[in-house]
């Protein structure tokens, strides 16, 4: 596996915006003094007349995006997840969500893999926050290929979308030539019959790695990539619950309110099976290299393997 290509999805975001700008004339990009980090700087370089820096003022940026959208623009409001979902929550809720405006929120630096900046910038709560907003679509792509496709899908969809991107370069696991993104549809990455691992974002790759090891140990694990967390692919989740029983969820997010909660809420209604959640437990992160932090917080193939075995009593 020496030739694994790694890329941060924030980079995919910036490049996708640039690549789609010619086709989508109404696309405009807003940022809050983080263009170099969110990678919207890539767009700015090519389309400076359609890029607007709002300064360090995320609340206003979300409101400006709402106003632009009400006049037919498709604004991509970009900043770190902490400020997009956290600081600006109420503006996203009241100025974008309630009027159901066509605003796309590009939230980068999500999760613990922010790394050295530490707890104040490691947003493990954004999915939970955004899930509570009626009509909000939430996409958490797993790699470069999916991230680019998600930006295109968000453009083609009319309504508010929250997109979650990472800072850390992660393996590109999808094939750009054959990949097709369908909003709201989970992807069965690997079939299996003993248990389902429902993963999202960078945990999809970890789940795939875990499934390979489990296969060698005689455990057939199905891996499902849930890139769209809202609306959740309930049909697929319930099908997995019926066919494999136990579901292990894996996400770089708090175990409260994220994918694990969404899956648990779903199966309790259609096919109650145990749901074991892997994520950041009810605690804050801290500084350190991203890869080491992911391991420390159990966001690894190793922890998925152990969790699956424990869940199956093996």
């Amino acid at each position: 596996m020496a030739d694994v290509i790694k890329k941060a999805t924030r980079e995919s975001y910036g490049e996708a915006l640039r690549d789609l700008a010619e086709e989508y004339k109404n696309l405009v990009v807003l940022d809050a003094d983080l263009a170099a980090a969110t990678k919207t700087g890539i767009f700015k370089k090519a389309y400076s007349d359609r890029f607007f820096d709002c300064g360090i003022a995320e609340a206003n940026m979300m409101g400006v995006a709402a106003g632009l959208a009400s006049c037919g623009k498709i604004p991509f409001a970009s900043t770190f997840a902490m400020f997009a979902a956290g600081r600006a929550y109420e503006i996203v809720r009241n100025s974008i969500g309630y009027p159901h405006l066509n605003v796309k929120i590009g939230a980068t630096h999500a999760g613990i893999s922010v790394g050295e900046d530490g707890a104040t910038h490691q947003c493990n709560e954004d999915i939970a926050l955004m899930r509570t907003i009626p009509g909000m679509t939430i996409i958490n792509p797993c790699d470069d290929v999916e991230a680019r496709a998600a930006v295109k899908a968000a453009l083609d969809y009319v309504g508010p979308v929250y997109m979650r991107f990472g800072r850390l370069a992660t393996p590109v696991i999808n094939d750009a030539e054959t990949y097709k993104f369908e909003l709201g549809k989970g992807v069965v990455m690997k079939d299996g019959s003993d248990i389902t691992i429902a993963a999202t974002g960078l945990m999809v790759n970890e789940a795939m790695e875990a499934a390979k090891v489990l296969e060698n140990d005689g455990i057939s694990a199905r891996v499902v990539n849930i890139h769209t967390i809202k609306p959740l692919d309930k049909e697929l989740i319930c099908k997995c619950a019926r066919e494999t029983g136990i579901i292990v969820t894996a996400e770089e997010h708090s175990v409260i309110g994220g994918l694990g909660s969404a899956v648990a809420e779903t199966v309790t209604e259609c096919c109650p099976v145990p749901v074991v959640k892997i994520g950041v437990n009810d605690e804050y992160g801290y500084s350190g290299p991203a890869v080491e932090l992911l391991k420390k917080f159990g966001l690894s193939a190793e922890n998925i393997i152990n969790t699956v075995k424990k869940a199956l009593n093996k």
């Binding site: 405009v28 409101g63 106003g67 009400s70 503006i91 100025s95």
Partner: protein
Amino acid sequence: MDAAMKKNLQKIACKVRMGVIEGTYNAKSGHPGGSLSISDLVTYLYFNKMNIDPNVPEMADRDRLVLSKGHTAPALYSVLAQKGYFSADELKTLRHIGALLQGHPCIHTPGVDMSSGSLGQGISAACGMALAGKLDGKSYKVYAILGDGEIEEGQVWEAAMFAAHYKLDNLVAIVDNNGLQIDGKITEVCSPEPITDKFAAFGWHVIIMDGHDFDDIDRAFAEAEKISGKPVAIIQKSVKGKGVSFMENQVGWHGTAPNKEQYEQAMAELSAQLKELED
């Protein structure tokens, strides 16, 4: 402004005020005080200033208005009804279950350009609308009405910075300076003064206006038209509760609906004012 036009606006404003009382009385809740203080302003904008068509509420090139101080929706609804966006009967079911008219403005109501009411947010949306107009080379104007208490919200100043930076001279923000907010006088709660100096320091052209004198309102907006390269803030000096004697300058009427007796007295006063104008 010629006398006939002025008298006509005064009559309409009186009817708008009656709609505010009608709405809040029937809702048994709502915010009459600040609605009455902007009644002349919204009457002027919708009947003498804005390029709008009630038959085509979504007209692309229309002027836009964001009621950032969204709790004074009764005034907006009342003027929209006068303008013909919907029947005045709708005011009687303001805030009722299943009604068209929500407690705070909702974008899905005909004539309402933006959902608003969580204070400080409308001005940002207005900035976005103004920026879109600039990008598309359109000549429409965007008006945002803010409360003087509302400008205590930090987001207002983020927006103020943004509007000046992007030279949004198609944006006019009107601050309804009636001096009162829920907890008391604005100068005693947590003073936003000096308001004019603040907007000027943020790079806006500032105009002070008497919010209850149509000649002065006309003068202020004529001056605003001439400004280029920067956004305009009009600080309108107003009286909370204007037009209903027992509500004027009374902070208690910020968010209290009139009871039957008060409703009848208010309507009698406004009817007398209207009759005087019609004679």
